[in-house]
């Protein structure tokens, strides 16, 4: 068996151009699927970047609301003040929140607007690449990435709900295609929403050694019409919402790419089997059994596919390095699970791709060995 396997692998390496072409074709199919998944993961992580970065012990919001993404919440500000007076509470920071269409120059994009209650705020941007913090109600801090996408500069005007805001700063880590985060002071936003006396969310930081779960239950019991959610649960809720919205697209893309990969594998194995038809017939004539030949084709297919998979990962790493220059608006997130999870799937694709060539081999007439040429 060893010798026939050696023949199989040597045959692959002897046909370098054909093997390499197949491998690159398969790897591009995998690359497409992996890249799409990585972009989606990057986007999803960016969608929860804001709540992750805020990292309070508890989130307080309107009853029936449990996350930020595609949600709206209004809570009377006095409720926040009441919670802040509880002995277990270190600090409560409220902010107004709106997800809406924002006009940047001639472009409209969907984004999160966070209305802060003061200049240097717990709920504000955590890193500025340029500019300063907010001082006046008509000022806005926009994601840094918008500079490279739209050529936005300090002093430019951005419109939110028909009101103008002047750009005074650029924040880092707050951009995603689905929901870039903009920061303003709450007053003007409150006017737009006609929501005086309310805020959307409160970030609660508890005193050290306080039982967070007990505090959560206490607030829920004492304050009406609100929801109190732990940081972990809040992130999970937002993440789930984001994932649900793209799960079908990812699945369809993965299926298309996998089918493409299986077809390329099938074609590669089939053309290899056709090219080596005479030699395969000779092996059969000399006593080679069908299962031995099928094993060779299967292993050829698996090795080409797995090498193509590794190649796809290399391409993806290179692409992720190049993305900030090529397309800064796209966030690519790579993780070990994202890279490794589809490997068994690639293995299955390799097996599927080799089925037809294997059937042809089983049926191959060994008498072909007697044909000349």
């Amino acid at each position: 068996m060893k010798m026939i396997l050696r023949w199989g692998f040597k045959t692959l390496t002897m046909q370098k151009a054909a093997t390499l072409a197949s491998m690159v074709g398969i790897s591009f199919s995998f690359l497409l699927a992996l890249f799409f998944a990585a972009v989606w993961q990057g986007e999803t992580e960016q969608i929860v970047a804001y709540p992750k970065k805020m990292n309070p012990d508890l989130w307080i919001m309107q009853e029936g609301v449990a996350n930020m993404h595609m949600a709206s919440s209004f809570v009377w500000d006095w409720k926040g003040e009441a919670i802040a007076k509880m002995p277990e509470v270190e600090r409560v920071t409220g902010f107004l929140y709106l997800n809406t269409v924002i006009q940047v120059k001639d472009n409209k994009l969907f984004g999160f607007v966070v209305g802060l209650t003061g200049e240097a705020n717990r709920a504000g941007p955590w890193a500025l690449s340029d500019g300063r913090s907010l001082k006046a109600p008509d000022e806005i801090i926009v994601p840094d990435t918008l500079r490279s996408i739209f050529g936005l500069t300090k002093g430019d005007t951005v419109q939110i709900v028909d009101k103008d805001y002047r750009v005074v700063g650029f924040s880092q880590g707050t951009y995603s295609t689905a929901n870039p985060v903009f920061f303003v002071l709450k007053e003007k936003l409150q006017d737009s929403l006609a929501s005086e006396g309310t805020l959307s969310y409160f970030l609660l930081d508890a005193k050290p050694d306080v039982d967070i779960k007990a505090l959560q239950q206490k607030i829920m019991a004492e304050i009406d019409n609100i929801n109190v959610v732990s940081q972990a649960q809040f992130i999970a809720n937002d993440y789930e919402m984001a994932t649900q919205m793209g799960a079908e697209t990812i699945l369809i893309m993965t299926l298309i790419c996998s089918t493409l990969a299986a077809l390329i594998i099938g074609y590669a194995c089939y053309s290899l089997a056709i090219k080596k038809r005479k030699e395969l017939a000779i092996i059969k004539a000399m006593g080679g059994k069908a299962h031995q030949l099928v094993t060779v084709v299967l292993l050829q297919s698996i090795s080409v596919t797995l090498l193509a998979y590794v190649l796809a990962i290399v391409f993806l790493l290179l692409l992720s390095v190049a993305m900030p220059w090529v397309a800064p608006q796209i966030t690519v997130a790579l993780s070990l699970s994202l890279l490794v999870k589809p490997a068994p799937f690639a293995f299955i694709i390799a097996i599927i791709g080799s089925i037809y060539p294997a059937i042809k081999l089983v049926r191959l007439d060994p008498a072909i060995a007697y044909k000349n040429g």
């Binding site: 068996m1 060893k2 010798m3 026939i4 050696r6 023949w7 040597k10 045959t11 390496t13 002897m14 005479k278 030699e279 000779i282 092996i283 059969k284 004539a285 000399m286 006593g287 080679g288 059994k289 069908a290 031995q292 007439d365 060994p366 008498a367 060995a369 007697y370 000349n372 040429g373």
Partner: protein
């Protein structure tokens, strides 16, 4: 000498109705151990079909093929590979070496298809390499070998599993006369020294020198004849060398006798003799 290969009334036809061709038509023959049997005949006479049936590569429509006491026509398809690997050595006109493997790997290949200890196979391979003068080419790839060397490797490969029968299809067909002579002598030694039955299908009359028996195959039927002196003349139609005294197809034309390799050549001649006699 005991019979190692026997066919009883084997037939094979292709097509049906008016287009039906009897490639092999009720052939019965015995081949004894150590015997060299030559099968000659014109192109399309059924030689390769007959050889394929003897090697279990093609099933017979009727009749029996008994190799070493086993009627292979009664075996399942899945049982044939083992019979082929253990009992039969194949030699082909176009050598049919596996391009990706070295000389040594090619020789050992048929043994690797069986469950045999590598050490024993390696020892036999070394012996064959020495015997066939391939020591200096052990690690060479087939494309770097001359025609004669390729056929010696093919012979070593056919012998590695110590078969009882060798089926050779035009073994000298692609070789120059010296290499062809060497290959003939090797096959002769294999039969004489190891008692292997060698069945050779060929057009090459030089091979007749080593044959114990020569059979003429035409239109799927076989005619027995002895290896003895011949009166060689040229078939005026195809140019092939034919034995004037034993030719099955001949004609008298304008006082001269013309012999043909096949009925087809004779028919062509009859259709326009002036084309071939000027």
């Amino acid at each position: 000498m005991s019979t190692i290969l026997e066919t009883r009334n084997i037939s094979k036809s292709f097509g049906s109705g008016a287009a039906k061709v009897n490639a092999v038509d009720h052939i019965s023959l015995d081949i004894k151990m150590g015997e060299i049997l030559l099968i000659m005949g014109p192109s399309g006479s059924g030689k390769t079909t007959f050889l394929s049936m003897l090697g279990g590569l093609l099933s017979a429509d009727e009749g029996e093929v008994v190799i070493d006491g086993v009627d292979i026509t009664q075996l399942r398809q899945s049982q044939l590979p083992d019979i082929r690997a253990k009992t039969i050595g194949f030699i082909f006109q176009s050598f049919n070496l596996l391009e990706a493997l070295t000389v040594e790997e090619n020789i050992m290949f048929p043994a690797s298809l069986l469950d045999e200890k590598k050490e024993a196979v390696k020892q036999r391979c070394d012996e064959l390499i020495t015997k066939l003068g391939l020591q200096h080419r052990r690690n060479a790839l087939p494309q770097t070998l001359s025609g004669g060397e390729k056929q010696r490797v093919a012979i070593a490969r056919a012998l590695i599993n110590q078969p009882k029968v060798i089926l050779a299809d035009e073994p000298t067909g692609n070789l120059d006369s010296q290499s062809g002579q060497e290959v003939m002598m090797l096959l002769h030694d294999v039969a004489r020294d190891q008692g292997v039955a060698v069945l050779i299908v060929t057009h090459d009359p030089r091979v007749e020198d080593i044959a114990d028996r020569i059979l003429w195959l035409e239109d799927g039927k076989i005619i027995d004849r002895k290896a003895e002196s011949h009166q060689w003349i040229k078939d005026p139609v195809c140019g092939m060398r034919v034995d004037e005294w034993r030719a099955l197809h001949f004609i008298e034309y304008h006082g001269a006798r013309y012999a043909f390799c096949s009925r087809r050549c004779r028919e062509r001649f009859v259709a326009g003799p002036e084309k071939y006699t000027e």
